[in-house]
Structure formats: structure tokens, C-alpha cells
């Protein structure tokens, strides 16, 4: 009893759980990417490792990466080079603690939850810049600079897309936003017209958020900083072994974290019709997140990538004005209704 009263122990347990769950889910996402991409390409994908469907392939890959030599190029800025993958993971883990799996199952329900999530999430920008700059490679440098420009450009639509939700919910707490989505949207007379657990009218916000999230995650169609066919993996060019694995897991965990945030903000979080949020909440949320992850993988294996300047023009000329308009409309409706 006394042990659970200690705030540090509780924090450690919560963090540990979050990390374990996140890693496990990141491996699931990694496996999904292998399998989904294979089937979309008319292939089978992993098959032999671990029984019929090759589920052990991800562990094999992780082990393979861990065995590899940890190379640091001679011209690299070694301390920065070593630090970058950790910083990249740090941002993702910082985000994950505030995601509510159920009304009670949340590592930390901050009052400024979403604000904190977006702020912590943008730490990965620094990681990519660090990686690109410290590698001592021109391709990495170009990749890092592209990443910097891209993440800064897309931070704005990401935040602005969220503002609409925050206005609607009237809170920045993740639990609060989820609960707000369970409420009827507006009342006509005494009848509550509800759009429970759905987009709450924030369809535009959702689309903008997903586009910006793809850009934040450096996924196709916005993977110019990596751009294997142009920059030979961009800021990842010089990474190998465990550090590369960290980036890789960071990417998959990031996909999951972003999908979870999107689910919480726009898709009703842990709520689902007819399911008790207390018991089924975690499964509902993870299920919604995995569906969004599937859509991200689906994009990845269907579309080519845009060019860096086209991406910038998309952000500044379309997404930002659209998000601002969305905020204006939402705010007006909020006041009017």
C-alpha cells in the first residue's frame, strides 16, 4: 500500500508500462507493414519465421539489427550522432504517457494534455536535424535540412487542426476531449442531436491532422527527408545497428502515437457504441489506432512521394488557410449554438 503511495514508484510503473506497451505495439505495426505491404504487392511477405504467418520475423529483424556493428563515420560529430536516435524515441515516449486508454487507464491526464503532446512530439524534429547534421554526409545533410523544413512547416497545420477540437470540447485534457465527444453535439429544444464518438463535425480538421501527421512522421507521400531513391535514406544513411533500429522503432511507435492522438481527438477515443469504456476502452482505442495505422501503410504502398517544394506549398497555401478557416467556423458555431 505504502509503496503505491510513493509518487515516484507509481510514475515508474506507469512509464514502464507505457514503454512496454508501446514497444510491443511498435513491433505489431512493423509486422503489419511487412505483411500489408506484401499483400498489396501481391506477395506473401514473411512466411517461415515462427510458424505459418512469419510473426517472428520482426524479432528476427530486431535481433539482426542489434547484432550489427555500431558504426560511426570518421567525419561524424560523434556525441550528437549517438544522441540523435534517443532524442527521436524520447519525443514519442513523452507523447504516449498522456493517451487515455480508458477513463481511468491513463499514465498522466494533464490539463494541457494535447498541448503537451504536440510540444513533446515536435522534439523529434530536433532529432532528425541532429542526425542529418552530425552524420558528416551530404545526403544526410540534405535529408536533415529537408526534415527540419518539413517538420516546422507541418507543425503549424497540426496544431491548428487541433484547435478546432479544443474549441469544441472546451478543454485541452485528453480525457476531457474524449468525454466531450460522448456528449451530444448540440441541442434543438430539449432533444440532443448527438454525433457520439464520431468526428464531431471536425472532418476538415481530421483530414488536415492526418496529412500533417504523415508529414511529421516522414511517411510517404511526405518522406522526402528519407527519400531512398534520391537521398539514399537521407538522415538515416550513416546509421546502422541498434541506432538505426531506434529510428525504425521510433517511426513505428510514432505512427501509433499519432494514430492514437487522432483517435482520441477525432474518433471518440476509447468510446464505441455499446461497449463499456471502462473495460473495452483500451481495445477500442488500440483498434481505432491500428485502423489509422493501416491507412498510413496503405498510403505508403500506393503513392509516390511529393517534392519538397510541393510539400511546402501544400502546407502553406492549402492546409494552413484551411485550418484557420476551420477554426473560424468552429468558433463561430460554438458561439452561435
Amino acid at each position: 500500500m505504502s509503496l503505491l503511495d510513493n509518487v515516484w514508484v507509481v510514475l515508474a510503473v506507469k512509464l514502464g508500462l507505457a514503454v512496454v506497451i508501446l514497444f510491443a505495439l511498435a513491433l505489431v505495426v512493423m509486422f503489419a507493414e511487412l505483411k500489408v505491404s506484401a499483400h498489396m504487392q501481391h506477395r506473401i511477405g514473411p512466411y517461415f519465421a515462427g510458424g505459418r504467418w512469419g510473426w517472428a520475423q520482426v524479432f528476427a529483424e530486431a535481433l539482426k539489427f542489434l547484432q550489427k556493428e555500431d558504426l560511426i563515420p570518421r567525419d561524424a560529430d560523434a556525441p550528437v550522432f549517438r544522441l540523435a536516435p534517443m532524442v527521436s524515441l524520447l519525443g514519442t515516449f513523452a507523447v504516449i504517457v498522456i493517451i487515455p486508454l480508458s477513463p481511468v487507464l491513463v499514465a498522466g491526464d494533464l490539463d494541457v494534455g494535447i498541448f503537451y503532446a504536440l510540444a513533446a512530439g515536435s522534439v523529434s524534429t530536433i532529432a532528425l536535424l541532429m542526425a542529418g547534421w552530425s552524420s558528416g554526409n551530404k545526403y544526410s545533410l540534405i535529408g536533415g535540412l529537408r526534415a527540419g523544413a518539413q517538420l516546422i512547416a507541418y507543425e503549424l497545420p497540426l496544431v491548428l487542426a487541433v484547435v478546432g477540437v479544443v474549441i469544441q470540447a472546451g478543454t485541452m485534457s485528453m480525457v476531457g476531449i474524449t468525454e466531450a465527444q460522448a456528449q451530444p453535439l448540440f441541442h434543438i429544444g430539449s432533444v440532443g442531436i448527438s454525433l457520439p464518438y464520431a468526428l464531431q463535425g471536425q472532418i476538415i480538421g481530421f483530414v488536415i491532422f492526418m496529412i500533417a501527421a504523415l508529414a511529421e512522421l516522414v511517411r510517404i507521400p511526405f518522406d522526402m527527408p528519407i527519400a531512398e531513391s534520391e537521398l539514399v535514406m537521407g538522415y538515416l544513411t550513416e546509421y546502422s545497428g541498434i541506432r538505426f533500429t531506434m529510428f525504425l522503432l521510433g517511426e513505428y511507435a510514432g505512427m501509433l502515437a499519432m494514430s492514437a492522438i487522432a483517435s482520441v481527438l477525432f474518433l471518440g477515443g476509447y468510446h464505441f457504441w455499446g461497449l463499456n469504456a471502462d473495460w473495452f476502452g483500451p481495445f477500442v482505442l488500440i483498434g481505432k489506432s491500428l485502423i489509422l495505422v493501416f491507412v498510413m501503410i496503405w498510403f505508403r504502398w500506393t503513392w509516390p512521394r511529393l517534392r519538397e517544394d510541393q510539400l511546402q506549398s501544400l502546407a502553406w497555401r492549402w492546409l494552413v488557410p484551411l485550418a484557420l478557416a476551420n477554426i473560424a467556423v468552429t468558433a463561430t458555431l460554438k458561439v452561435v449554438l
Partner: protein
């Protein structure tokens, strides 16, 4: 002859901008639901056509050590050694004949470019193409195969495929 055509060069624009993106996604999703076409190699195998040039098989009995294949080989990858032996005359009073005995017949498959010239020039039908393809080795030196190995492959040489109908001349010389 038809007149060279200049296409209109119209772009394939979708009616709704952005619809093309979703047409592609529909295609990948349809494929996602279909059964994959992959052949799971070590478990299942594709059967190569009869004419597939997989490996060269040798019929030692037929070889007369005439060296023609070694000379015509563009890569110089066939090594032949032999010696002559005196044979008693076939019938009494006949001339004693010499016969060539094959001592060594090596093909370096690391050099071979699978052109088939040796098989073609062989006047005694001693060389054959076999569709067998599973003979990879861990080092280049292990790809030098001697006559014992080449003879083993003889068993894998298939019958020639049936021909597409309408062969009026029958191909008989």
C-alpha cells in the same frame, strides 16, 4: 501501313481532382484481398520449361574427346583432357583402331555464360541442356564441375517439348 499517330497528349485527369489517388488505393486494396502469386521457393518450385538452359549435362559414352566444344566456347570455360588407347581390331585381320578416352571434362560454371554453343556444336550428341538450376556453391571454385557431376545431370534432361502444330516439313533434314 497505318499513318503514324500523334496522340492528343491529354493528361489522364480525373473528373474530381485527387480522385486518381483513390483509384490507386482501390487497386492496391483489391490486390491486398487477392491471393498472392508468389511461389514459396524451397517448398514449392516452378517447373522450368523443357528448353530452359539450366545446366549442361554430359554423356561420357558419346563423347569422343574431339575438343570442338572447348574450342567453340566463347568463354574458354570447358577443360578437356583425354588420351588415346589402342583397341584390337573389330574383326580379325582388320586395322587396329585408336579410341579416345575422356580423362577430364570440366565446365567452369562461374565463367560459363549459358550461350549453348557447346551443346550446339557437339557432333556426337554428348552435351545436353538440363533445366536443373539448383547447384549454387559457396565459392567460385566450387562451381567447376567435373564429368562425374555433369553425368549425374544427364538424368534430368527432359524430352523435348511437343511442338506447336502446323509444322509442314516435319523438321526432318
Amino acid at each position: 501501313m497505318s499513318i503514324p499517330r500523334s496522340s492528343s497528349g491529354k493528361r489522364l485527369r480525373s473528373v474530381v481532382p485527387g480522385w486518381g489517388l483513390f483509384k490507386g488505393m482501390w487497386l492496391t486494396f483489391r490486390t491486398f484481398l487477392r491471393k498472392p502469386v508468389t511461389v514459396m521457393y524451397p517448398v514449392e518450385k516452378e517447373i522450368p520449361p523443357e528448353r530452359a538452359r539450366g545446366v549442361i549435362a554430359l554423356d561420357v559414352e558419346a563423347c569422343t574427346v574431339c575438343m570442338l566444344c572447348a574450342r567453340e566456347c566463347p568463354d574458354w570455360c570447358i577443360y578437356i583432357e583425354g588420351h588415346k588407347v589402342q583397341q584390337p581390331p573389330a574383326e580379325p585381320g582388320g586395322r587396329a583402331r585408336t579410341r579416345s578416352v575422356l580423362d577430364r571434362f570440366d565446365i567452369d560454371f562461374a565463367l560459363c555464360m549459358f550461350c549453348g554453343i557447346c551443346v550446339e556444336v557437339c557432333p556426337f550428341d554428348a552435351l545436353f541442356w538440363s533445366p536443373e538450376y539448383e547447384y549454387s556453391a559457396e565459392s567460385l571454385a566450387d562451381l567447376l564441375h567435373g564429368k562425374e557431376r555433369l553425368t549425374q545431370w544427364l538424368a534430368t534432361v527432359p524430352e523435348p517439348p511437343a511442338l506447336e502444330g502446323s509444322e509442314p516439313e516435319g523438321g526432318e533434314p
